[in-house]
Amino acid sequence: MTGTQTAAVAETAAPAAAETTEDGYNFAYLDEQTKRMIRRCILKAVAVPGYQVPFGGREMPLPYGWGTGGMQVTASIIGANDTLKVIDQGADDTTNAVNIRRFFARTADVETTETTGEASIIQTRHRVPEDPMTEDQILVLQVPQPEPLRSLEPREIECRKMHAYKEYGLMQVSLYEDIARFGEIATSYSYPVMVNDRYLMSPTPIPKFDNPKLDSYPALQLYGAGREKRIYAIPPYTKVKSLDFDDHPFQVQQWEENCALCGAEDTFLDEVILDDRGGKMYVCSDSHYCARRRAEGHSGKLSGSAAAAYAAAVGADQPEKGA
């Protein structure tokens, strides 16, 4: 009985899902009092850049770790006239991105887009878009662990004191240990930054490749951690410095190859394994940026058909050993 009802509901709801919003929920899912509480936290977060404001995080209809913090921030700022873009590790078309985009299309009836320039709000998981953002846009980052000191000091009460007294020597020691052990700072994501010369902040697990973009970024950055119930922010044009040493300056990742599809030389690349014989390719992590470049006529070494791409990747013109 219940099964039939559910099926019937699903049947009627499915075709219209894209046009109609969900009945029975407030605009953008959260109730007004919750939004007001989050809005007040956001304003305080903007006023104290890099400081983690505790907030009454609500349960969202998806598990922690899937962007509940970012979604609560987005739900509190989004309006009917906004255009939302959601990216997951740079891609617009992965599960997390598609579902969050659809969530807000259903609960807030907003326009969604995959184009960085068209969006007024961009919620992102672990990347900053390659395309520049403007003053009129807001970047919302999903945060799994807002506390940069947590791996060094598990006690929240101690971490809070360290932030209060700007006691960040421990983090420098941790980076120094990297240098002593590996000859370089091996941290490649969640690379700690100092915001406005005062607060040590985790920029979320964005690759350190993206860290330099955060400095004096024209768009407002809002960070939401759902499980840890923290909100923090970086206002536009704020100094954001990645920690380093005079003799070991901060450096970003570099690749020996360009993007195999669009040929970009200056983007963050994902390594894609093509077979079990060492074949691999590098492609832009930012799917929209890569697609736009391809549409503009740029090409990489694997731009041809899938078969040609595969052949090029495994070096088909060279006979395999033992064949």
Partner: protein
Amino acid sequence: MALTSTPNGTTVDKTTVLSSGARAGIDTADLKPGLADPVHESQTLFRHLLDAMARPGRAVDLETALDAPTPLDPATAAVVLTLCDYDTPLWIDWIADTPPVRSYCRFHCGSALVERPDEAAFALVSDAENMPRLGLFAQGIDQYPDRSATLVVQLPDLEGGPERVLKGPGIATQAVLRAGGLPDWFWNDWRLNAAQFPLGVDIFFTSGRRIVGLPRTVLVEG
């Protein structure tokens, strides 16, 4: 903490509510209406407030048609309606502390009205010339600098005052503010406010329908 423990304010309110019998509670006879569309209007207003706080010194038009009780400007009332509720003790300065304004804030926001500035999460100042010194408001504490007051300071105008050059986060190079009607001590107090960062108050200047944000990070020159 200072913001949530409001013995004076709540006691006063409770006595009013409980002791005055039939006239208890809020006088709604001449109550001005709040936001016509609370969900979408408060969202639009909040985005303007966020814009103002993220870009200090830049005047933002709230585009609100709010009919606010005297002596509040539409922008002043809009900030209160957007951000205040039963979680935020509200302090109102003596000029604005009239029965219509008290009823307005209590009915539309449900905020507890407190007597002492340092107990308030939000402070409504309509007479800036005679406002309390900034140090009298909640400043936050070392480990929780967010527990500081947000002041809504209504000014006669945002263009006619002496020129101040603002710098800091949210400002690309520099911003110019010509807020009129501030007391002589204000910018000196503001320097002290900025010097004790991360503690300190944050301010929304309001005038007519427009607001200017002044977070505690702003450094002032001139």
